[in-house]
Symmetry: C2
Subunit: 242 residues, 2 copies
Amino acid sequence: MSLNIQPTSTSAPTSRPFLTWQLIIDWAEEHYRSRAFSKDERIPARPGLLYLVQKGSIRLVGNAHISASHNKSSKSKISNISDEAFLGFVGAGQPFELIAQSPFTLQAYAHADQTTVLWMYWHDLDNWPYFRREVLDAFRYQHQRKLLWLSTLGQRRTIDRLFGFLTLLIEEYGEPWIAQDKPEAISGYYLPWPLTHAQIGSAIGSTRVTVTRLMGKLRQQGLIFIQNDHLICLPTQSEQSQ
Amino acid sequence: MSLNIQPTSTSAPTSRPFLTWQLIIDWAEEHYRSRAFSKDERIPARPGLLYLVQKGSIRLVGNAHISASHNKSSKSKISNISDEAFLGFVGAGQPFELIAQSPFTLQAYAHADQTTVLWMYWHDLDNWPYFRREVLDAFRYQHQRKLLWLSTLGQRRTIDRLFGFLTLLIEEYGEPWIAQDKPEAISGYYLPWPLTHAQIGSAIGSTRVTVTRLMGKLRQQGLIFIQNDHLICLPTQSEQSQ
């Protein structure tokens, strides 16, 4: 195994020049284009608008409107929450948009309490050409991450998809975890937001029950561990080889 | 079922202004930045460069370098072609790039014979600011399509993932199919490139054998049909309700 977790702040375009970012936050507040959402509240995002996460994090989900196995009962199933697939996070400083809609619906929810979102029309960015380029580069980066995500979802064994999925999320969003009994080194990287086993299952084409069973297996193998607050951690390489 | 296949050329940003596109093709040929590839030949794409498909189509694939189920034997398995996940096509006029690499490797192959690819550095686009914006918009579009793709891969039943996957591909790349015995109307839309059942399986986390079985089931249900040259078709709505 050559898992090599890097602090991702270097590759992810999260570190905006403070001045522009502050300018945009001020502009959004002045123009009433800023709003705070509570946990699990839906962001009423419309096509054609650009959204920026100022604080907290966004959870993207997709709903299927087609199904080969339930053609007849599909109408009653659409409202079922288990049909919702978890598609990833958008963290602070990052842009998102929801355009494509058919035959699946994309939606955004506040994943953390007090998640603040700004929005603007694309032409509003004409005032900040450098910032526009940063936003488009952020989408390029997100697109590449989704290709990696698709790579793991192509794996045949559910446990491989699960481990690949967790590795990708923690590689992108992970924060260093320093154990109390080993304060001199980083013991691993943890995902700073909780994810339920049902949400994980909805991302990797599996069920809550299977995810719970396979998470236990990954813990037994020492490939993951769980932090105090139920947050998922990947141990650093030295730990894994023990 | 409200499947509503639209001719996608309106939504996909494929129709470049002919003049700029011709200018760029000329520029690439002058600077030896253009090359034709034969079917299944790998495009030696490097991070930091931008690639444009001039003719034919590109197949993106991902290779896993981690696995929870085969830690010990993973080295010998990496070269196995069955570990390669199909991640989608890039058609003529469309850009692609391969940046993200860990813990999966992204690669591009010519999917059709005589596929011609141009390449350039991002700063080369400083000469064509409008074209740069088109390229970045194309990546925004591709990113949205991948979110839809992730939505279907989150579905629990393999047949739903298979049908969602085929629907998305044909919605994006499909060409109208006019049956000989019904020349007055469009009978469906077909994917203009062949895909093996193994390739489909590698995209949806399944096997060649299962895909073959489920494709038969979808055909029986009238949800798909197969054209003369083994190309996959989705019937138009009127056909499906029969």
